[in-house]
């Protein structure tokens, strides 16, 4: 019985022969973006070992050395490569720690969005009827209110409910929650659309005829086939979540200055831009833009590769 079946190619072999890898090898932009992205993520998560200072450690901060410019400008201090911020923290270290906070919130929020969105999308697409109508109407209303607006409102409510100090203490968790709750409709819509497309196909009918239960059909049969659109929007969503976090922090509804993310660094620097200390806001800003840009470019590339219908440019 089993002797005649050809060997199933391993996951690695399948990946090695895939079009994804093939086109990656030929795309210089994608390679550069992945390299930049991986090194930024690595630098951010290795911050405690890489950073010359610990911005959370008040003992290391010297208020006298505040607002020092970066190394290429006259009046800089060589021990602070990118200068210092208004509180005398080393900007390079603060950016590394801040990028870590931004990435944690970005990924956390996307995981939460995906969990909520995929479950709702599967339910809506598979069950149809009233569940579908209700969930999609909810998603429509939330989307028409715009995800950022929802995030700002939820953030404002949280801040008012918990009070400023508690909010600051649990800011990371709360921001994940806020952005996760605000952006699930994107996932739900995408998953629902692919479920509707998949549901009409024969293998789902076959599974139903064979007596599999709805849950099994959804998770074992339909979900794997909706993975590539989920994968593609996930990249864009991570970029969006990082921007949303930065926006909330900039509005004072996010990370406090003592525990800075890239967004709150930009905010704290903005107050000093008129006095000429542009680096406190613009260097973290550049880091944020580069991070978001490489994720967006990777997302673009993935969409081109995984969706051949759009391929002909």
């Amino acid at each position: 019985m089993t002797t005649t079946t050809p060997p199933v190619p391993s996951h690695w072999a399948r990946f090695r022969d895939s079009y994804l890898l093939y086109s990656f090898k030929r795309d210089l932009v994608a390679q550069t973006c992945l390299l930049v992205f991986v090194s930024m993520v690595a630098a951010a998560f290795l911050a405690p070992w890489l950073a010359p200072m610990n911005p959370y450690d008040l003992a290391q901060i010297d208020i006298l050395s505040s607002e020092l410019p970066p190394f290429w400008i006259a009046g800089s201090d060589p021990s602070y490569l990118l200068g210092t911020d208004a509180q005398g923290r080393d900007l390079l270290s603060t950016i590394l720690y801040g990028a870590r906070v931004s990435l944690i919130i970005g990924f956390g929020a996307v995981i939460l969005q995906a969990l909520i969105g995929i479950s709702f999308g599967l339910l809506a697409g598979y069950l149809g009827g009233r569940v579908d109508a209700f969930l999609m109407r909810l998603a429509d209303i939330q989307l028409s209110f715009s995800t950022l607006m929802v995030a700002i409102i939820v953030g404002a409510v949280f801040k008012a409910t918990f009070g400023g100090e508690t909010f600051s203490e649990y800011a990371v968790v709360l921001l994940v929650l806020i952005i996760g709750l605000a952006e699930w409709p994107q996932y739900a819509r995408t998953v629902r659309a692919s479920v509707l497309a998949e549901r009409s196909k024969e293998y789902v009918d076959a599974a139903r005829v064979m007596g599999f239960r709805a849950k099994r059909i959804m998770f074992r049969h339909i979900l794997p086939n909706t993975l590539s659109p989920i994968f593609v929007i996930s990249t864009v969503q991570v970029a969006n979540a990082i921007i949303s976090e930065a926006a909330l922090s900039f509005l004072g509804l996010g990370m406090p200055e003592t525990q800075p993310s890239l967004g709150s660094l930009i905010k704290s620097g903005f107050d000093y831009i008129q006095s000429g200390s542009w680096w406190i806001t613009l260097i973290p800003g550049t880091v944020l833009v580069v991070l978001v840009l490489v994720i967006n470019l990777l997302g673009d590339w993935l969409r081109d590769v995984m969706n051949p219908r759009l391929y002909k440019g």
Binding site: L143, L148, M149, A156, A247, G252, L282, L288, V289
Partner: protein, 349 residues
């Protein structure tokens, strides 16, 4: 047509109902209005009386119905901070936001359509590639950062002097890289012209119009790349269609094919997306107004959050909800007028 309007009205009422419930729930759970009103020094017994007088001890439903009844008469109570009806506070801030959104929308519409169409007609030209490259960078820059960079360049000014002054071109090149600054980047200026009621406009004189420039560019910068990419993608798809080929086979001029046959079909999905993006635009006014201290509703809302001015927060939510409902209905109406396959009877034909 009438059936469509009734259906839309019903939908609008539903949305407003949901927003009002959420707003009311916020009101009920947030902070302590008594403390906001009277401060710390008033004794507890007096507070309890006040609480009873304001009806804060009534059951949830009774309180909601009272809230809804007042809301229908546009009465959302008094702002704690301004100590005047919230609707008046909103009306005072509304024109600034509307003028900013109008300027940004003008920029978005006049730039995205020609650029999107051009880069679809000539997808391989260097200019199109430049547009597409700039637009993906544009999407990746948060609106407040664009605003900050604009302020640095055009308001504060930058001076970079990498070239030595004594060589012939040195000072000229340095001048090219540096900017003077001086563009206004704070508030609406003092030369506003009164139109009527609470409406003072920036559009009446050049001196006040310059105050709009940087905020409007910032606000537009987030939507513009999105629309350029959307219009290009849709147009590229439409240009592949059989009806465009058939129009060519009929000997119609390319101009008419691009700007009537293709563009009209391209705009259908763009209108739908545009409707959704209006909400996003309002959200981004909060950020833009914060950076530029533009005295509109967004800045007012953020200040209200800082001050826990709950009646004002709620009024803002209700007004913004109303704006969304109205614009979405308008967008659906426009869509129905442009697309003949949608009969305005409530369901697609």
């Amino acid at each position: 047509m009438i059936a469509f309007l009734i259906k839309r009205l019903f939908h609008a009422l539903l949305v407003m109902f949901i927003i009002s419930v959420i707003s009311f729930a916020i009101q009920d759970n947030l902070g302590d209005p008594i403390q906001q009103m009277v401060g710390q020094s008033v004794p507890e017994s007096e507070r309890a009386t006040l609480r009873e007088e304001l009806g804060l001890n009534d059951p949830f439903l009774v309180q909601y119905l009272r809230f809804a009844k007042n809301a229908l008469q546009f009465d959302f109570g008094y702002s704690y901070f301004f100590n005047e009806p919230t609707t008046e506070v909103i009306l005072r801030h509304l024109p600034a936001t509307l003028e900013l959104v109008a300027a940004a929308t003008f920029l978005i519409v006049t730039l995205s359509v020609p650029i999107g169409v051009y880069s679809a007609i000539k997808p391989r030209s260097p200019l199109s590639r430049l547009f597409m490259g700039v637009s993906i960078v544009g999407i990746s820059i948060p609106v407040f950062l664009t605003a900050i960079v604009l302020i640095q360049i055009f308001s504060i000014g930058i001076s970079i002097t990498p070239f030595p002054e004594d060589i012939g071109w040195g000072s000229w090149l340095n001048g090219l890289l540096s900017t003077e600054g001086g563009m206004p980047a704070y508030g609406r200026g003092n030369d506003l012209t009164h139109v009527f009621g609470t409406w003072y406009t920036n559009y009446a004189s050049w001196d006040s119009l310059v105050y709009l420039v940087l905020p409007a560019i910032s606000l537009a910068s987030i939507m513009l790349p999105l629309f350029i990419r959307l219009i290009r993608a849709e147009m590229l798809e439409v240009l592949q269609s059989d009806y465009v080929k058939f129009a060519k086979a009929k000997g119609i001029s390319m101009r008419r094919i691009y700007f009537l046959h293709a563009l009209k079909n391209t705009m259908l999905p763009v209108i739908t997306v545009g409707g959704v993006q209006i909400g996003t635009l309002v959200a981004f006014t909060i950020l833009t107004e914060t950076v530029f201290q533009w005295p509109g509703m967004g800045l007012m809302f953020l200040d209200a959050i800082e001050r826990s001015d709950i009646p004002l927060i709620i009024t803002y939510l209700m007004v913004v909800g109303l704006i969304f409902v109205i614009t979405n209905t308008l967008v659906d109406l426009i869509y129905g007028l442009v697309n003949p396959t949608v009969k305005l009877t409530g369901k697609p034909a």
